[in-house]
Symmetry: C2
Subunit: 597 residues, 2 copies
């Protein structure tokens, strides 16, 4: 059975030394989050994830969810109790408005807890995770009455939420969707249609399930401009707030999937289910994007989370497994063989994963802080700058953290050799689970298009110009520091390639949008390299500051510096290959006729 | 259910125009392989794979193998009939000596048929595939009596073979193995021990199973120099050749694996099983390498094979799935949306796969031809040159074709979005099946070490010098051809990087072997890029020669030229990143203390 230890120490370092969270004490909820409280919260979350969620992960994968004949769905043994413990701890509403039952703490902390939970048990963490998307949509676009009915119950975890977008013939292209809503004459609608791939669509963890459903009001225009968002509870709610009759929405079947077996992926049938409009008619896509952006960051965190737990188990194996001798002569001559950690190629796998994980974690925190500013600051220009950055970085995090996170689970599995391929050790489950994160909430190719086609040009490139400016300022401010130089050189090179690629799009993709599409995926990854490199430069700076002060763990700081160096030496060089590919444009790939594929 | 069509046309092009097989008519078995016969053989193999093996692939994955209480193992429904059809077609002995019941045709053809079978049903193809390793060991190291008893039955497929190397505490480092052989006083030994991860170790397809087992003769030296190879039949053979009593070898359990569910991966218990020495005592590792080299090429082919079938299904989906509109304006305005093949990023995935598949197929054939020369030529210097090349390229093919083959199944899965993640479409099975090829027959990190630590320096670098020479001669001979220039530029650049990396090892790795280990994986992939690029340059040359002659399918040749260009534009640029990584050496990755991982 795999093990897991939440990286609490490392996060405390990030929150105190790299991105000092006290700087944000002017924001609501931040002053309350004192260092002591943060440590207590993280330790408590770590305990829950390590002791309660982790032991259910492998058994949950084996059992999966079971749909009963009456359409109800049973989650694996132990999930109900774990869910009760999770919601009792107040984790669903950690960063939610205290007036609605939340704890009002920074979203940044909720993002960190999400990492722990997803490392310990990704399939489990999705159940409360999906409530967040529903909450975001209702808080932003719901009526006061809707908020009053649904939000406190979602925050308490008594009820859970879902997002119902996909139909069998449309996922990315929601303009094609067919689900229909017919006015009932009162304020409600009768919703009809079949939705597929609905995560947590039906289960036995919560008393009620609140579906947020995209459908077309009868007579609405075709395409994306005729789509509305509805809230459709599984069980209808009486005027006094108590649960009433079952609504006409049922789980038709469960999908058999590659992974996340313990999360119920449902076909949902709406047979005239009662629903209420959320936001304006025909503006559902707009309301839905609120859910999606929230969800995309959550998925990015899953990529990191599974990479982290996979790393921990691969590293533990590499330190224990005795096999072969060091190329430089036996390191442990008293043992029958050296542990495989002596082999450079085993270290290459492990350091490649870790050089990503630590920077990705910093990037998640950095981005989450932007989200906190965007949602809580009273300063309009601060809000705009943070929202710009959040919008720009969201597709980068979703695409890059899930792609590399998955690659890393494969690398970690490889460290175990044949033992990585059999179920017993749990490594192959990480690969199967991590794989979905590259697909759902917008496949990564869509993230790349969102970045290049929408986010880059938005507001005259304001967001990307500001991001480049921030990285450059950091380089300029620190260039005089000789100790930091090895970490800045690679970052400068990567940034130069990213700027060249951006310029190339400006010159070549406006007249020929296929040139943007052809380079979008490489651009997203190039952007990710620079963002991760920027994190390493900042981590290195903090580590260098701590070392001579002697007020930290010097060996741990040395390890960070080595990982930063490794990133610049071994991972950043990919930037040149990305630029080369982007610069070749679309001509070759568009020349082949469709029938020749 | 996934579909599959064997690439017969493409292979005929490779065998007639790129590497004209008639050139080798001086070798035994080649003159018999007339163009007509080759086409007939490939068509027959294609039919068997498409119609018999493919339909069993997805059901076989779902059912898996079942171990009965008596230790016998049942393969999935239909496998017995398919195996009977396979062996009745003479496919096991396609390239084996006619004097022993084989057909004596080129090994190159057997390699091609192996690709078809592994595309259609990798788990099935492993059963007859494993007989090849056993055959190779017996033919090279067996006594005449052993050959007479075992070889014809293995070739006919009445019996199948296995390789028993791994024990729970040792895979890569066979020097640690504990299985024991005690002389029985006659010519036989009593073999004791537990072997794990034994593919096709027990099943119901053949009358008997011939295990080739590594064990230590009682009193033999410790380490690799005390290991011997034994042949241990599941059922003992009477003096008249008929089957006798059961031997004391049983399947203790089946592993639960990520994929290849339809192949029985067994824990094998040897409880004093009767075995006979193959080759000299304590020279078992030597004899075993004969099996391994054969098997490594077979595994490389699996990487290509699964990549191919994944490509075909992703391409078919991309041409049918309607979703969104071309960035350049609707391509099919009469349809509700364009097929997703209009999107550059979908094409990027597909062309990246195909630009690998076609070159990898050429590389398999090119290498298989070297194997044919090495085993069949009467010219000693020709044999040496071919054997050098085969030895050098075997780890490159095993490592690169399985790594990229796996990546490609992930890319192909991504084309289907959410549909790629559910079992129904079969794409996730390709990912799970392809994954093992990176691990077994020597994990890919071991291949990289074999290449850098053993093959490069062997005989004063004779093999690698000859390979570089062959590529350079091709470039030099064709540099005057302006039409070919676009395909040579990238190859030259890649070769220059590979030569620089080789030089770097010579200068930096002899005194510090960790520098070789640290760069070995990148070097293997850099070598693969050059080898694949060399194939594309040769394919481009053949395509350019065919076009004006008008004696081929001009559109198909144009497609090859576009794919060659795509490879040089989008895949070859990785060579610079590999060189950059190699040149950083081992210092950073070795500096971290083991306990800090």
């Amino acid at each position: 059975m795999p093990s897991y230890k939440a990286p609490v120490e490392e996060i405390l370092f990030l929150l105190s030394d790299v991105f000092p969270i006290q700087r944000y004490n002017n924001l609501p909820g931040f002053a309350e989050a004192t260092p002591d409280l943060i440590e207590a919260i993280l330790s408590e979350a770590a305990k829950l994830c390590e002791e309660t969620l982790l032991p259910l992960n492998q058994p949950g994968d084996r059992t999966g969810c079971i749909r009963n004949k009456d359409g109800s769905v049973a989650t694996p043994r132990g999930f109900k109790e774990a869910y009760r413990a999770f919601v009792a701890g107040g984790w669903v509403g950690l960063s939610a408005d205290p007036n609605l039952g939340g704890q009002g703490l920074p979203y940044t902390l909720a993002a960190i807890v999400n990492e722990f939970a997803s490392s310990a048990n990704m399939a489990f963490a999705m159940y409360p995770g999906l409530s967040q998307g529903a909450l975001a949509a209702l808080l932003t676009h719901g009526t006061d009455a809707q908020k009053k009915i649904f939000v406190p119950k979602l925050i308490s975890g008594d009820w859970s939420g879902t997002m119902n977008l996909t139909e069998s013939h449309c996922g990315t292209d929601l303009g094609l969707l067919k689900a229909k809503a017919v006015p009932n004459g009162d304020a409600s609608y009768a919703v009809f249609g079949e939705k597929i791939f609905i995560s947590a669509g039906e289960h036995d963890l919560a008393e009620n399930i609140i579906h947020l459903v995209l459908a077309r009001i009868e007579g609405a225009p075709a395409g994306v401009k005729g789509i509305s968002l509805f809230v459709v509870p599984k069980i209808l709610i009486e005027a006094d707030g108590s649960l009433g009759a079952a609504n006409k929405v049922t789980c038709g079947s469960l999908e058999h999937k590659m992974g996340i077996h313990a999360n119920a992926t449902c076909v949902m049938n709406y047979d005239g289910a009662k629903g209420w409009l959320v936001g304006e008619p025909n503006r559902g896509l707009n309301a839905m994007f609120v859910m999606m952006n929230e969800a995309r960051l959550g998925v990015a965190i899953q990529g990191l989370a599974v990479s982290e737990v996979a790393y921990q188990n691969a590293a533990a194996y590499a330190k224990e497994r005795l096999q072969g001798r060091s190329l430089a002569g036996p390191k442990y001559p008293e043992k029958p063989a050296d542990p495989i950690i002596v082999h450079p190629d085993v270290r290459r796998n492990l350091m490649t994963i870790r050089a990503f994980n630590e920077a990705a974690r910093a990037l998640v925190i950095w981005t989450a802080l932007k989200s906190d500013i965007a949602h809580r600051s009273a300063d309009k220009s601060e809000v705009q700058a943070a929202a710009d950055c959040l919008g720009l970085l969201t597709p980068v995090l979703k695409g890059v953290l899930t792609d590399i996170g998955f690659d890393n689970t494969v690398k970690a599995q490889q460290v175990l050799g044949g033992h990585g391929y059999i179920e017993e050790w749990g490594m192959e489950q990480f690969v199967r689970d991590a794989r979905i994160a590259m697909i759902y909430e917008g496949a990564n190719g869509i993230q790349a298009l969102d970045l290049v086609g929408r986010k880059l040009a938005k507001d005259g490139g304001r967001a990307v110009i500001a991001f480049f400016g921030e990285v450059k300022s950091f380089i300029k401010d620190n260039e005089g520091d000789a100790a930091l130089a090895p970490y800045l050189t690679g970052l400068k090179q990567g940034l130069a390639h990213l700027e060249q690629a951006t310029l190339w799009f400006m010159q070549n993709a406006i007249a020929k949008p296929d040139n943007a599409g052809a380079g979008s995926y490489d651009y997203m990854h190039l952007f990710g390299l620079v963002a991760l490199g920027f994190m390493w430069a900042q981590i290195a700076k903090a580590a260098l500051a701590i070392k001579p002060a002697g007020n930290g763990d010097a060996a741990a700081m040395d390890a960070k510096l080595l990982l930063a160096k490794y990133f610049m030496e071994r991972i950043m060089p990919e930037s040149g290959a990305h630029l080369a590919r982007i610069s070749t444009g679309a001509a070759t790939m568009m020349a082949l006729e469709a029938e020749q594929f």
